[in-house]
C-alpha cells in the first residue's frame, strides 16, 4: 500500500512540473493548469486512500474550503485579481503554520531537531505570509483603515521582531514540549508580517505580491520537512518539498523581474523611501502644454498606419479596457495596425495588464513586451498613453539625479505623435513631474479614460 502512495506522490510531482511547463505558452497554458490541478487531485486522493482515517472532519473542511474557493474564483472581477491572489496566498501560508502547530502538539516525542527547525521556519514564514497577505489584500482593496503607515524606528522594530522570532526558534529546540513557545513565535511573526507590508506603497505592490507568493511556497516546503518523521508523513514530505520549492523559486524570479523593471533593489522596495517626495500643486511646473480634443485625436489616428496603446493601472481604474477593445477593432477594420506596449510593472501584480486586456477580448498577439515595443517605437505614428505615467517618463533616461533614474521605460516620446489621456497633470506614484506632457510631439487629452476613448470612437465613426 505504501508503495502505491509513494508512486502517487511521484506522479503528482511530475504533473506539477509539466503543469508549470505548460504555462510557458498561451496555447498550452490551459492544459498546464489542468495538469497542475490533476496533480493536486492525485496527491489528495492518494493521501485519503492510503491512510486509515476518520474522514468526517476532513470532509467538512474540504467542503467548506471548496465552497469558499469556488465562490471567490467565479465572483472576482479581473481588476481585483491581485487582491484575490494575495488572499489565497495568505490562506496557504496560514495553513502551513497551522499544520506545523498541529504536528507539534500531536507528535512531541518523535520530533528531531531538524524537524523542530522546520516547525519554527514553517510557523515563522507561514504566519508572516498570512498576516502580510491580509494587509496586502486590504491595501489593494483600498480599505480605509490601512494607509501607508510609517513611523520612525519601524525597521528597527521589524528587525527586533525577527530576532525575537529566531530566539524563540532556538528555545523551541531546547523545549519541544512547550507549544506555548510556538504560539508566541507565530504571534510575533503575525505582527512582523503586518509591519513589513503596511508601509509599502501602491506602486510597489507587484513586488510584495510576488514575494509573498514565494513565501507561501517556502512555508509549504518547510511543512514538508516537519512531516518527514511521522509515519504517514514520510511519503508526503517529498511532494510538499518539491511543490513548495517550485513555487518558492517562481515567486523569487518574479520578485527579481519586478525589481529590475523598476531599477530598484529588493531591499530598497521593502525598506526604502521612494514615495511622494513633495506635495502641492504640480501644474505650475508645466508650461506649453498642448491640450487637444477627441475629434483632433480621431483625425490624427485616421491617417496613421501604426498605433501603439500604452495602458497603465489608470485604464483599469477608469474601466476603459472594453472601450479600448472597441477602438482597437474599429482601427483594425480600417487597416490600421494596433499594438499594445506593456511595461512589466503596469498594474498591481506581474502580468496584470495582459489579463485585463485579454478579458476585454484583445488577442494576445497584439500585447507586446517593453523591449519588443521599444524597438518599433520610432516607426509608430500615434501612441496613446492611457492611465500610465511613471513608466513612460523620459526623465528615467535623461536625468541621473531623478528618483526613477535608470528605470526601464517605454519610449513613447520616440513615436511621431503622443496622445496622453489623463484627468490632470498630477504626477504618478514617484511624485515627480513628467516632461513628456510638455514635449513637442505630445498632445494632452484631459478627461476620464473611458469617456475619452468612447469620444474618439464616436469621432472616428462616419454617422
Amino acid at each position: 500500500m505504501l508503495v502505491n502512495v509513494d508512486l502517487g506522490y511521484l506522479l503528482a510531482a511530475i504533473l506539477f512540473i509539466f503543469g508549470l511547463k505548460g504555462l510557458t505558452r498561451p496555447r498550452t497554458a490551459v492544459r498546464g493548469n489542468m495538469l497542475g490541478a490533476l496533480g493536486m487531485l492525485v496527491a489528495v486522493v492518494v493521501t485519503l486512500v492510503g491512510a486509515d482515517f476518520s474522514v468526517t472532519f476532513i470532509l467538512l473542511g474540504l467542503v467548506i474550503g471548496s465552497a469558499v474557493g469556488v465562490t471567490l474564483a467565479l465572483k472576482i472581477q479581473m481588476t481585483a485579481m491581485p487582491q484575490l491572489v494575495a488572499l489565497f496566498n495568505g490562506f496557504g501560508g496560514g495553513a502551513s503554520a497551522l499544520v506545523a502547530g498541529a504536528y507539534l502538539v500531536t507528535n512531541v516525542q518523535s520530533q528531531s531537531s531538524a524537524e523542530l527547525i522546520a516547525t519554527a521556519a514553517s510557523g515563522l514564514i507561514g504566519a508572516m505570509t498570512f498576516s502580510g497577505s491580509l494587509i496586502a489584500f486590504a491595501k489593494l482593496q483600498e480599505l480605509r483603515f490601512v494607509g501607508n503607515i510609517r513611523f520612525s524606528g519601524q525597521q528597527t522594530l521589524n528587525a527586533m521582531l525577527l530576532i525575537a522570532c529566531l530566539v524563540l526558534a532556538v528555545m523551541l529546540l531546547a523545549r519541544p514540549e512547550s507549544a506555548f513557545i510556538y504560539c508566541v513565535l507565530v504571534l510575533l511573526a503575525l505582527v512582523l508580517g503586518v509591519f513589513s507590508v503596511i508601509s509599502i506603497g501602491g506602486a510597489d505592490m507587484p513586488v510584495v505580491i510576488a514575494l509573498l507568493n514565494s513565501y507561501s511556497g517556502l512555508a509549504a516546503a518547510a511543512t514538508g520537512f516537519v512531516l518527514s518523521n511521522s509515519v504517514q508523513g514520510q511519503s508526503a514530505a517529498n511532494i510538499l518539498i518539491i511543490a513548495g520549492s517550485l513555487v518558492g523559486a517562481s515567486g523569487l524570479i518574479l520578485t527579481r523581474i519586478m525589481c529590475a523593471a523598476m531599477n530598484r533593489s529588493l531591499a530598497n522596495v521593502l525598506f526604502g523611501s521612494l514615495g511622494p517626495t513633495r506635495s502641492g500643486p504640480d501644474d505650475d511646473v508645466y508650461v506649453n502644454v498642448k491640450s487637444t480634443s477627441a475629434e483632433e485625436v480621431a483625425m490624427l489616428i485616421e491617417v496613421a498606419r501604426r498605433v501603439v496603446i500604452v495602458p497603465g493601472y489608470g485604464m483599469a481604474v477608469a474601466q476603459a479596457q472594453h472601450s479600448v477593445s472597441d477602438l482597437t477593432k474599429l482601427l483594425e477594420s480600417k487597416k490600421i495596425q494596433v499594438e499594445f506596449g506593456i511595461h512589466p510593472v503596469a498594474g498591481r501584480m506581474p502580468g496584470h495588464m495582459n489579463v485585463l486586456l485579454a478579458e476585454a477580448d484583445i488577442p494576445y498577439d497584439s500585447l507586446k513586451e517593453m523591449n519588443e515595443i521599444n524597438s518599433t517605437m520610432d516607426q509608430t505614428d500615434v501612441t496613446i498613453v492611457l492611465g500610465a505615467n511613471d513608466v513612460v517618463n523620459p526623465v528615467a533616461r535623461t536625468d541621473a539625479q531623478s528618483p526613477i533614474a535608470g528605470m526601464p521605460i517605454i519610449d513613447v516620446d520616440k513615436s511621431r505623435t503622443v496622445v496622453v489621456i489623463k484627468r490632470s497633470l498630477s504626477p504618478g506614484f514617484s511624485g515627480i513631474p513628467n516632461p513628456l506632457f510638455t514635449a513637442e510631439n505630445t498632445l494632452m487629452l484631459f478627461g476620464d479614460g473611458r469617456k475619452a476613448v468612447v469620444d474618439i470612437i464616436n469621432a472616428l465613426k462616419p454617422d
Binding site: 497542475g36 496527491a43 472532519f57 474564483a73 496557504g92 499544520v99 511556497g217
Partner: protein, 116 residues
C-alpha cells in the same frame, strides 16, 4: 532538464527506501534540486502569463493541504483535540487556496485568445 531527471530519480529513491525517507539531508537535496527545476522552468514563462503563473503556482503551494489532511487524520488520543482543530482549520484554508487558485487561473487563461 538534467536537474529534473536527477530530481525525479532522487524523489523515487527517497520514497522507496523507508529508512532514508526521514533523512533531513536527502530531503534538503530534493529541496535544492526542485528549486533549480523551478528556476529553469519559470524563467521561460513570458511576462504575458505572469498573473496566471502566480495564481496557478499559488494553488500548487496549497500542497500543504496534504500535511493538513495527515494532521487531522493521524490517530491521536483525545487530549490532542487541539491538534485536530488546528488541522481542520488548515484543511479548510488550504482547500480554499487550492480550489480557488486553480479555478481562477482556468478562468483567466480561458480569456487569452489569438488573433483570428
Amino acid at each position: 532538464m538534467q536537474a529534473m531527471n536527477t530530481l525525479l530519480l532522487l524523489a523515487e529513491q527517497t520514497t522507496s527506501s523507508t529508512q532514508a525517507a526521514g533523512s533531513p539531508l536527502l530531503l534538503l537535496t530534493v529541496f535544492v534540486l526542485a528549486i533549480f527545476v523551478g528556476i529553469e522552468i519559470i524563467t521561460k514563462i513570458p511576462p504575458m502569463l505572469h498573473t496566471p503563473l502566480m495564481s496557478g503556482s499559488n494553488a500548487i503551494s496549497g500542497i500543504t493541504l496534504i500535511g493538513a489532511l495527515l494532521s487531522v487524520g493521524s490517530r491521536h488520543p483525545t487530549e490532542k483535540i487541539l491538534g485536530c482543530v488546528l488541522g481542520c482549520l488548515a484543511v479548510t484554508l488550504a482547500t480554499t487556496n487550492v480550489v480557488g487558485g486553480f479555478l481562477v487561473t482556468h478562468r483567466m487563461l480561458g480569456m487569452f485568445r489569438k488573433k483570428d
